[in-house]
Subunit: 202 residues, 2 copies
């Protein structure tokens, strides 16, 4: 098995942190996304969407999509649980994971895609939409700060995939000037705690 990885993109970082938390070691190959290696035929034959990361199994099956890759390992090695424990807890973790992906990380990513030089000429950019997303991202950080007032981690008492998703998304906001504000003390406390885990360096 091998993990098609990219050191510069946020989604592969989610998988690397996840694997570090689980103590799972997977051989990696680097995909050069700056040279659009992931948008060319050899890679596209394995993942028509061109996304990185992608997990290639020994039988040739290619599993794309960050969360699908994490779930593959979670199913085989449930401990420590990063997607929840029983039916209710798994549902609650999934709710928070989705909120972190769709409500927090996605507007940050949309701001980047629609306003940053990197994507100029690669995709149709709509600057006005980028600014709508920037405002949404900043509002969501305010909201997340209020959520974290009464809990240690995003989904409750345990560090989960929801925290990984939020941290990676928020860290990626820096390139677009989206940052935790000085008065967002809960968010800052949570971010410092998540970043201090050894897995954050993976």
């Amino acid at each position: 098995m091998k993990l098609h990885d990219s050191a510069m993109a946020p989604n592969p970082r989610i998988v690397r942190i996840y694997l570090a938390e689980k103590g799972i070691d997977v051989p990696k190959v680097q995909v050069d996304i700056a040279k659009a290696e992931n948008r060319q035929p050899p890679y596209l034959a394995k993942n028509p969407m061109g996304g990185v990361p992608m997990l290639e199994l020994d039988d040739g099956t290619c599993i794309a999509e960050t969360i699908a890759i994490c779930r593959y390992f979670e199913e085989q090695q449930p401990e420590p649980p990063l997607f929840g424990t029983d039916a209710k807890d798994k549902a609650v973790v999934e709710m928070w994971r989705r909120r972190m992906e769709l409500e927090v990380a996605n507007p940050i990513m949309q701001t980047f895609r629609n306003t940053h030089e990197f994507f100029k000429g690669r995709i149709p950019q709509v600057a006005e939409w980028g600014e709508v997303m920037r405002e949404a991202a900043n509002k969501r950080l305010e909201w997340l700060d209020s959520v974290l007032a009464d809990r240690e981690w995003v989904a409750g008492e345990r560090f989960t995939i929801a925290d990984i998703t939020a941290m990676v998304g928020i860290d990626f906001g820096r390139v677009s000037g989206i940052r935790i504000a000085d008065d967002q003390k809960n968010l800052a406390r949570w971010h410092a705690a998540a970043s201090a885990r050894p897995s954050a360096k993976a």
Copy 2:
């Protein structure tokens, strides 16, 4: 337990079809989203994102997010499997489910949100972005037609949550003029088969 439902929105339809496929009956309450009932305090106290559907458990736990709700039931009643069987199959189904949500249904929803009268004054609309998304949606339907050339269902041989997600998304495209094209024979065949299942009327 009760399911906060809305007959007019696409996401609650995913849960209703899912439950019909599983043969699970859950009491429902209708949320009037045209009157923005889901954007007012009593509802927001249960789901701060304001999204419908939401599953309210007897202990007061509120599970928002369509897929989190489906996973709650999948965990309790795995048969028939709609999220896959073993680790590899579950990962493959999740990959396809995400592609259907993020690559197919999402551009359709974004077109609607940014161009339709319904959202005028409710959210910041960027018509130019709506048109970028409309083009993306139409391209993705072409791509999905090619995917379905060699398989019965989106994730392979079995009907799964990926099919439900794609069908509901595509059906919702009609209000924005996004439709399966006449030459997309594989997509049309798949859509007719999915729509003919009794669950499609749920």
